[in-house]
């Protein structure tokens, strides 16, 4: 099973500043990669995903993540955050050769955006 490491447990950031959330996974076998977001008192929502093709993927609200196979990383970035981006962010990985596509999650990164 995959092991997923989110290197920062908490990231405080000022509004309109950039943010990067780091994610590394354990195996270089063929993988699907995901970032999920959990806003306060809400369930997990898909933010963006990498399945194949371009290694740079984007979300509708300005986040982007880049798949780096050699470094087994899938870091999440946003050039300018808003107060509404305050949430917990989870990186997740599944092996597409495993036939069940179960997700292995990191421990999460709590992003707190301050005015």
């Amino acid at each position: 099973a995959q092991s997923v490491t989110q290197l920062d447990s908490q990231v405080p950031v000022f509004e309109e500043a950039p943010v990067e959330l780091r994610c590394n996974y354990s195996s270089s076998v063929s993988v699907y990669l995901f970032w999920y977001v959990q806003y306060p008192n809400q369930g997990l929502q898909l933010l963006l995903k990498y399945l194949s093709g371009s290694t740079l993927v984007e979300s509708i609200n300005g986040f982007e993540a880049e798949f780096n196979k050699s470094q087994t990383s899938f870091h999440l970035r946003k050039p300018s955050v808003h107060i509404s981006d305050t949430a917990e962010y989870f990186c997740a990985v599944s092996d597409w050769g495993s036939n069940d596509y179960k997700l292995s999650f990191g421990a999460g990164t709590t992003v707190t955006v301050r005015a």
């Binding site: 989110q6 999920y36 369930g43 997990l44 036939n99 069940d100 596509y101 999650f105 990191g106 421990a107």
Partner: protein, 112 residues
């Protein structure tokens, strides 16, 4: 359309009791997953159904945990002889085959 729903949203029980947690997946989704999220951690896989059958139950922590999906839609996670360590948020997700998993709001289980 309707998303994944889970009932109850909160369940408080006493140590040793039996509990059932229900998941209604998105209509037409053949794959259904259960995860458990303990405080301060990411979700951990418990069991995966493809249709009516449990295709992978490798994440179930012990034989007190069992899940069913008799008609290939609604699933029930059953926990016997609950322990305080079972307290967590239990998440259900559904998907179309290999596509994105959509999560329900979870059931917060508290074992006193």
């Amino acid at each position: 359309g309707a998303g994944v729903s889970q009932t109850p949203s909160n369940k408080v029980t006493e140590k040793g009791k039996y509990v059932e947690l229900r998941c209604d997946p998105i209509s037409g989704h053949t794959a259904l997953y259960w995860y458990r999220q303990s405080l301060g951690q990411g979700p951990e896989f418990l069991i995966y159904f493809q249709g009516t059958g449990a295709a992978d139950d490798s994440g179930l922590p012990n034989d007190r945990f069992f899940a069913v999906r008799p008609e290939g839609s609604v699933s029930t996670l059953k926990i016997q002889r609950t322990e305080r360590g079972d307290s967590a948020v239990y998440l259900c997700a559904s998907s179309l085959a290999t596509d994105t998993q959509y999560f329900g709001p979870g059931t917060r289980l508290t074992v006193l």
